[in-house]
C-alpha cells in the first residue's frame, strides 16, 4: 500500500511531508537508536520511533524509509516538521505506544 492509505487511520495524524504520500510501504520497523535503524531497517518500511530530532529525517532519507511515525505523542520540534516537508517524507504522530500501533497496523494489513 502507499502512505496515503494511512491517512484514513484514526490512530495516526499526518504532521508533515504530505508531498510524499505516494511512497510505497512494505513492512514496519521499530527502533530509537538511529544507527541501529540505519543498519537494520529495510527500504520502504514504515518506521515507528519516539525520537523526534532533526536527524530522524536524515536516517529515513538515507535508508529509503517510506515514512516515520512518532508514537506516544512525543513532541516534534518545528525544525523536524520543516525538514519532513522539505524532503517529502511523511511524518505522522500517534498517541499509541510502538507496540500498540504495530499490532493495529498489522491488523490493518500494512505489513
Amino acid at each position: 500500500m502507499t502512505v496515503e492509505g494511512l491517512c484514513q487511520n484514526n490512530d495516526l495524524t499526518l504532521i508533515a511531508g504530505a508531498n510524499g504520500l505516494q511512497r510505497e510501504i512494505e513492512g514496519i520497523y521499530i527502533g530509537d537508536m538511529l544507527s541501529w535503524v540505519m543498519g537494520r531497517a529495510q527500504e520502504k518500511q514504515l518506521w515507528i520511533t519516539i525520537q523526534t530530532n532533526l536527524n530522524i529525517l536524515a536516517v529515513a532519507l538515507m535508508a529509503d524509509i517510506s515514512c516515520i511515525v512518532v508514537v506516544e505523542d512525543a513532541d516534534i520540534p518545528h525544525e523536524t516538521i520543516k525538514k519532513a516537508n522539505d524532503e517529502g517524507i511523511p511524518l505522522f504522530q500517534s498517541s499509541l505506544t510502538a507496540y500498540e500501533l504495530a499490532i493495529k497496523l498489522t491488523g490493518a494489513d500494512v505489513l
Binding site: 537508536m33 538511529l34 540505519m38 543498519g39 520511533t49 538515507m62 529509503d64
Partner: protein, 164 residues
C-alpha cells in the same frame, strides 16, 4: 601519509569533474564537516545521494553509499574536532575518503565491534551512540580501510564496486 591539507568551510561543495582520454567521467567532490554541527547533520550525505541519483547509480548501491556517508558524517560531528568527506564516482567504483582531526581511535578492533560506543550521554539521548556506525559502514562497503593515530586523526577509505 597525510600530506594533504584539511578542507575549510569555503571548500564546501567544491567540485572537480574531469574526463580522461578514454572519455571516462569522474565526479569528485569534497565537503567540510564541522564538530558538533548537529543542525546540518546529514547535509553532506544528502548531497552525495542526490549526485548519485542524478548520475543514475543503481538504487541498492545508492542506499549503501548513503548509509555509509551518513554514518561517517555523524562520526565526524560526534567524535572529532572536524574533518572532511571526499566523494569520488566513476563508472567502476564509488569511493568515500573520510578524514578527521581529533582524538583518534586507540583500539580499532574494539571500535569495530557492534554495540561498542564512546558517545556521551547527551549524544545518546539524540539516538546516537548505538555502536553501529563503523560496523554499518563496513557492512555496506566492498572495501573498507581504517587507520588512526591517537590524538591526531582517523581516516576511512570506503569503496563500493559498481559492477557487483
Amino acid at each position: 601519509m597525510l600530506l594533504r591539507e584539511f578542507y575549510t568551510p569555503k571548500d564546501l561543495a567544491e567540485q572537480i569533474s574531469s574526463t580522461n582520454s578514454d572519455g571516462v567521467v569522474t565526479i569528485q567532490r569534497a565537503y567540510a564537516v564541522e564538530k558538533n554541527d548537529f543542525k546540518r547533520a546529514g547535509e553532506v550525505s544528502s548531497q552525495i545521494k542526490k549526485i548519485m541519483k542524478q548520475v543514475g547509480v543503481r538504487p541498492d548501491i545508492i542506499r549503501r553509499v548513503s548509509v555509509a556517508a551518513y554514518e561517517a558524517e555523524m562520526n565526524i560531528i560526534i567524535h572529532s574536532d572536524g574533518g572532511s568527506i571526499e566523494f569520488i564516482l566513476n563508472p567502476e567504483i564509488i569511493e568515500l575518503v573520510i578524514l578527521d582531526r581529533g582524538p583518534g581511535i586507540a583500539d580499532i578492533q574494539l571500535a569495530m565491534k557492534e554495540g561498542y560506543s564512546t558517545a556521551s550521554k547527551d549524544v545518546r539521548e539524540l539516538g546516537f551512540g548505538a555502536g553501529m556506525g563503523l560496523p554499518n559502514m563496513k557492512r555496506c562497503s566492498d572495501e573498507f580501510v581504517i587507520e588512526s593515530e591517537v590524538g591526531k586523526f582517523t581516516k576511512l577509505q570506503i569503496i563500493f564496486h559498481q559492477s557487483t
